[in-house]
Amino acid sequence: MADVDLEFVEQLIALVGRSTISELELTRDGWHVRIAKAAPGGGGGGPQTQGAMSAPVDPGPASPSEPTHLVSAGLVGTFYRAPAPGQPAFVSPGDVVEEGQTLGILEAMKTMIAVQADRAGRIVAIHGENGVPVQAGDPLFTIALAE
């Protein structure tokens, strides 16, 4: 419980409060939060907030019984799959990765931050497009864990 950041939850609540969405669910490193807004009159649901939380968790080619692990964006930024334009991607679906291996790059405030695998396994899904903005907590990679 200690690593659930209350401040983060508060920010999320503020986010929902400001937005036109009615509900937000977030799964992150083994914890899960769902925030629902009072339904004024009960219905409708306006447009989604731009960008935020929009990438669905694609189950990918992991077999149903295989345990998976999600690598999410640690902060808001631009997601890159390759070290530079025209160069090959760091990883592709099906690749086996080691713990600590660089999977992609997040660029924020003129700083490049490596996105690393925090568990070893096999990449079964890549959720972020190359060069798109992502929010903190957005899923980037699903890793099927080695048994």
Binding site: Q11, L75, V76, T78, M109, T111
Partner: protein, 455 residues
């Protein structure tokens, strides 16, 4: 003469330029990317115009669009601030070609100072002391490179002619590594700066970063406004600056200052500019010139009482300098802390919303910031969100006031490096003054941050 200035920048410096224009009775045009519509200076400008999407390359670096915006809004001059297009000679030339005023030096001066080899040669001609080195482009021949290396002495630095600001440089500790270091730096420089030329310089072990602020008008007058000590750096990024530099021989500073003012006249430099030096064992060594207003210009303003941005604009208007060298009198001591939206100890960027912004105030405190309660710091640009400045009769007083300001600043909701500044303001080396440019990295390696914790 122009009556409207287009501000081709964002954040705190855009607001700073707007204030200077306002005080001069000039109208302002704010150009901004689509995520920057809520910036403070956009709200305060007489006109504003969106010039493109968030990505800098499509907005703040889009020179053609900016010149077009100036023409559309009737702005007769463009102030580039720092970063972005401020030291881009092609942009300055395109502004000149469009019949507009570029608030900065002539494009030719930017071009010359942008080539670090040409800049160094110009400084040597003007008698400004430089770091001993290859005195020009390193040749292609391996033996010639080895001879040059032996002549300069090890350790040495291989630097890209097109680099600057800490980019495109490599330390070589012994002769065996030299050829490979030259080859690698050349290749990187060719890719990064489209100029593969490199040069060599002696590597100084424990230098301080001292720089001289100058102002030069279009009538052949130039003055220097004292020096700044910017030795508190991490990865070549300045984090605290102060003026004057503690413990320097004033006679030596004066001689170097006069040489810098003289160099402006010989190279045809106009506007505000900064000569950056390494300083070791009582000697100054020129490293590069910044042909624009710098982030840390306010520390000089506090000790001189001048408004450097206003002077810059008036020089661009063709006015003679409002002061002579004898009018430049330093008073007291000033310190600047750069407040960045980044984790104070891991240094990872931390864009986000500042729920409540309560800047410090009181005697001797100046704040340069575009923040306001509810502002969202976007992830697309530099992490600098505020500059805190303190001024006191003595360095001790300036330090005490800065420590006080840091204790009361409030940036609720936003992660910033204020906790790091709080540690540094109480750190023995900083309090003593006169530390070298590796001081902060030594502190970090020595566990400063670990001890500081994250409270």
């Amino acid at each position: 003469m122009f009556d409207t200035v287009l501000i081709a920048n964002r954040g705190e410096i855009a607001l700073r330029i707007l204030r200077a224009c306002r005080d001069l009775g000039l109208k302002t045009v704010a150009v901004h990317s689509d995520v920057d519509a809520d910036l403070r200076h956009v709200a305060l400008a007489d006109q504003s115009i969106c010039i493109g999407p968030a990505s800098s390359s499509a907005s703040y670096l889009n020179g053609a669009e900016i010149v077009l915006a100036a023409q559309l809004t009737g702005a007769g001059a463009i102030h580039p601030g720092y970063g972005f297009l401020s030291e881009n000679a092609d942009f300055a030339a395109s502004v000149e070609a469009a019949g507009l005023t570029f608030i900065g030096p002539p494009s030719a001066a930017i071009r010359r100072m942008g080539d670090k080899i040409a800049a160094k040669r110009a400084m040597m001609e003007a008698g400004v002391p430089c770091v001993p080195g290859s005195d020009g482009v390193v040749p292609a021949d391996g033996n010639a490179i080895r001879d040059l290396g032996a002549q300069v002495g090890f350790p040495l630095m291989v630097k890209a002619a097109g680099g600057g600001g800490g980019r495109g440089m490599r330390v070589v500790r012994n002769p065996d590594e030299l050829l490979e270091a030259v080859a690698t730096t050349r290749e990187e420089a060719g890719r990064a700066f489209r100029n593969p030329d490199v040069y060599m310089e002696r590597f100084l072990a424990r230098p301080r970063h001292i720089e001289i602020q100058v102002l030069a008008d279009q009538h052949g007058s130039a003055v220097w406004l004292g020096e700044r000590d910017c030795s508190m750096q991490r990865r070549h990024q300045k984090i605290i600056e102060e003026a004057p530099a503690p413990g320097l021989d004033r006679g030596v500073v004066e001689r170097v200052g006069e040489l810098c003012a003289g160099a402006c006249r010989t190279i045809g430099y106009t506007g505000a500019g900064t000569f950056e030096f390494l300083y070791e064992d009582g000697a100054f060594f020129f490293i590069e010139m910044n042909t624009r207003v710098q982030v840390e210009h306010p520390v000089t303003e506090l000790v001189t009482g001048l408004d450097i941005v206003r002077e810059q604009i008036q020089i661009a208007q063709g006015k003679p300098l409002s002061l002579r060298q004898a009018d430049v009198v330093l008073r007291g001591h000033a310190i600047e802390c750069r407040v960045n939206a980044e984790h104070p100890f891991t240094f990872t960027p931390a864009p986000g919303r500042v729920e409540r912004w309560t800047p410090p105030g009181g005697p001797g405190i100046r704040v340069e910031s575009h923040l306001y309660s509810g502002y969202v710091v976007p992830p697309h640009y530099d992490s600098l969100v505020a500059k805190l400045l303190s001024h006191g009769a003595t360095r001790d007083e300036a330090v005490a006031r800065m420590a006080g300001a840091l204790s009361e600043i409030e940036t609720a909701g936003l992660v910033t490096n204020v906790p790091l500044h709080r540690l540094l303001l109480n750190e023995a080396g900083f309090v003593a003054g006169g530390f070298d440019i590796h001081h902060l990295e030594r502190l970090i390696a020595g566990g400063l941050i670990h001890e500081g914790g994250e409270r």
